[in-house]
Symmetry: D5
Subunit: 140 residues, 10 copies
């Protein structure tokens, strides 16, 4: 059973750019063996992550992520059983919204600052679909 999970979190107090690189390196190390694929977006002090894979594997990872002290307020935005993955090609693709047109964030939210806590899961999913379509995902 394949699932897709999207969550948001707020970066922890001491979180810096080096930490982001560490998280991505960890993800790319662990995920292939567990059949996990997805995207990680870091902007405006929040994370939004998409995780796809077998139901057990995604939940095992989510349970670790929930307790990771590098972020807080971990909040599910969407979760569903899916017939196929949408991000099969990314071990953990990186999205840096700061390099993007603020109009894209404005299109789905009440201000130009990305605030997933004020958005529905469906709006977040549409935003991510548009990110993919516009080639905004750093490979790997």
């Amino acid at each position: 059973m394949l699932v897709r999970l999207i969550y948001a979190s707020r970066v922890g107090a001491q979180f810096g750019e080096g930490d982001l690189a560490t998280v991505l390196r960890q993800s790319r190390q662990h995920n292939p063996a567990n059949g996990i694929t997805g995207l990680l977006c870091h902007a405006d002090g929040v994370f939004i992550q998409v995780l796809e894979g077998g139901r057990d594997a995604v939940n095992a990872l989510y349970n670790r992520v929930v307790s990771d002290p590098r972020h807080r307020d971990v909040t599910l935005l969407a979760y569903e059983e899916v017939a196929e993955r949408r991000f099969a090609g990314w071990t953990m693709g990186q999205v840096n919204l700061q390099r993007l047109n603020p109009g894209l964030v404005l299109k789905y939210g009440a201000s130009a600052k990305l605030d997933p806590y004020a958005m529905s899961g469906a709006a977040i999913a549409s935003l991510f679909d548009e990110l993919i379509a516009s080639g905004a995902i750093v490979c790997s």
Copy 2:
């Protein structure tokens, strides 16, 4: 929660072209900070305006607009919660129907003179969609 609001009004007695410029300047000054985007159409003695943004911001603005003495008979045409904006790229785009083919107005109304008070909200929305598609919106 994002909403889209469309209303019509009749220009006030002393309203002149200079006033239109003032309204647009005010809009473009205030709207970015409030995350408001939209269109303003002025023709045949009426305004039609589309306002998009967070529910609180759009209502705060609409409540000010309702009391603005530069127009009267302010009347809601359409209002809905939306998953995404349609006019994210315009702080307040300007539409001048007088430069347009009268056939376009005729297509959605009973005469070639624009009369939003005799039109349903859906017809107005279709007219605006066609304006966008035909590039009739002055930027900014």
Copy 3:
């Protein structure tokens, strides 16, 4: 409220080609002021006319047309409230089926002779859609 009305009639006994020109001239004189647009098709001894416009204007015209002695057996084929016109560009476009491929008439009827009295309103509407698509309408 916009409506679209389609009716058929049989030409009167003394009706000649000059009369058709008169009808079209009358239509093109009166219709713009009343916000009426449409098509008139004359073939095989019958008329089929489409009238679009505000509900009051279309009915006022239809009531005059019903009593016009130049034709008889005036019969409604279709009438509906519409969100937009389909013939906004024609004050009263002219269709002369005699110059058309008889296959087109056969496609929607039991014989190659146009007989709207034996056709449903929907079939007539499809025939007209195909006329427009094939550019068979004489302008103005």
Copy 4:
């Protein structure tokens, strides 16, 4: 081909209660031979009539009605080809709205005074459905 036609009209200047009886008597005399059934509603200075029957018969009658000097502003509200009649049991049923709860008129219109000229065909049809359901039709 069966059709259902609904129209509204305004009673003529000298129209009185005796005239209504005459109209109903005429209808009940002529309609059976022509396979016409329907309802006639008279209230607040307007008529609303539903006519059902074969397409030719209904149109022949409507063409006569349009020119009847006892009313004016005859205006089609709805017309459609139908698979079956809704009023097969009434040669010409009579509805007298004045005996009805004004709430029913208010439910479908902007005021408690019946004004079919300000209502869509669909709203009129719903009002008539409710009249039937509430047994408000005087037999025959």
Copy 5:
């Protein structure tokens, strides 16, 4: 054209129970002449009001209500053109949520305290439907 409008507001600083009676009396005096019907709900320091009627009448009233100093933060929750009213029987029905089962509020919101500012228009509409079904509306 009939519309239904739902808005929320926060009661003003000095608002007391006597004021509620005044508002209801005003409503019941003005609304019949304007063909307005609806409900007013007052609870937990907020108002939620449904207004139904002709588009012009409802907007004229809403524009007055927006500027009424007895409340603030007037915010549209829903607005649509409707084929028929849902509250035709109430000049201005009164709903007092404080007498209701808090479970009903909890069913549609994140806590047992009614907070329309945190609810979608659709949730509010469902809550009102359930109020009507459960007979919670004080007549008139």
Copy 6:
């Protein structure tokens, strides 16, 4: 924003009946203040829990539950934004499947032993709907 979350877990090694009572008491103490409602089902060595409430509150609780050492293999079965709660009446209703007809478990799974890890979220949801309908929920 209201959400409904369903998860499964396996009871920890030393978990006994007294522990279940503790969990239920904790739930009923904490949940009202956080606007949380739901059901807890304990059978065949697994838990299935439904949590409903505001998105922030449900996620805050789920993050605590994930780390609770009294169970393991905490696995999301379903999560969605909802317009209304289904279990508004239960602070934390208790379901004891052991008292139920094994046919009910068999209906939705491959054997008569409840194994949520082999079931889709939709099957679990159907099973819970049937539990409610059959009155199998111990109050409070």
Copy 7:
């Protein structure tokens, strides 16, 4: 493959009541062996018959019926492959419309005289459904 076939015909010149009995006796003799079921309706000088059964059997019978000199103008009204029969209980049920309320015929046609040649297959099918529902079929 099961099919249902409905046709109409006009009774032949010398056809009398005795002939109807003969036709029904023939039908009830032959049909069981061929797995044919259905209805025969005789009124106003026309037949309408429904035949249900395996595709080969129904066609073999229809080919014989087409050449039967006791009627003429045999005309298919409807034919479809069906998942199940609607008249499995009648070897050949008899319907005598002359004993029925003429309103029923009027409901589906332009006059109170049954004329299947002026009706669509769907209207005939609806009329038959209503006959069954009203118990108008003479058994066997």
Copy 8:
């Protein structure tokens, strides 16, 4: 009323190639006057014919065809009232499956030999649609 009828038959014992030419010549002589259009397919000892036209004309022809001794086992495959013809351009188009790719027959049937008696009407219709799309119809 337009109908489309599709039937299959088995060629009679003495049927030869010359007979096919005769049938086609007869068809092309009679059909235009009756407003009939269609296709005739002859392969593997069977005919499949599509007949389109007015309901009376198509049935009159089918009744003659049923008794034609040049074929037997005449069996309806499909019959429906249609809004428009699909083969308006062919007096009687000819399809010779023997010149076609056997894969096309295999696609819709259990073997590469065309056997309409083992196929549903829908499968036959799909096969004919594909024949037209692939230009397999000999003109006229």
Copy 9:
């Protein structure tokens, strides 16, 4: 993953009533341990069996059944992944069509003799639904 499988077979040459009892006894012995439920219908020299359960269990059993010499021509009629069982209450319910009204078989087939080889899977499924609804299943 739950599946439902329906197949037909023809009884073997020496098959007698005692053999049916043996098959049923075997089924009721083996099925509970494998989580299999279903129905067995024996009539007119054919079997029709429904098997429900986990996908692996149902296939393991079907593979044994296919090779059982007590029947032949084992043929799948329907197979689908299902969200829930329809026959959870029967270890292997028995249906004896010989005691049933032949009209029921006729309703779904071309003759009163049950022939699953000439029926679609959907028709068989409808027949079984009707058997259940009519209480025709011998318990256990």
Copy 10:
């Protein structure tokens, strides 16, 4: 009646590459005479085969395949009556997933190793559709 059947199996202990060639040669010898078409996929120690054809022919073959000692755990994934084949052009096309991008397998499953036993029939069908679209099928 055409059907499409998809099953999976695990290769037997001694199965080698030569055996695959033998299976394919057998298939291509037998299938044309039986009107069978399809695909065979061999990867990661499992087979997935699609079989299309008449219902009797496909079942006769499946019953032989089930008992073939060269594989085990033969398990139906999907089976349905179809209006047309999807693989009419392949006597038995060969798919060798080992030459494919592992991302394709990952897209439909929980790991990059093909495991049909953990996939739904629908997911397998989607995977096969994508194989065809990407030209991954070795002809014949």
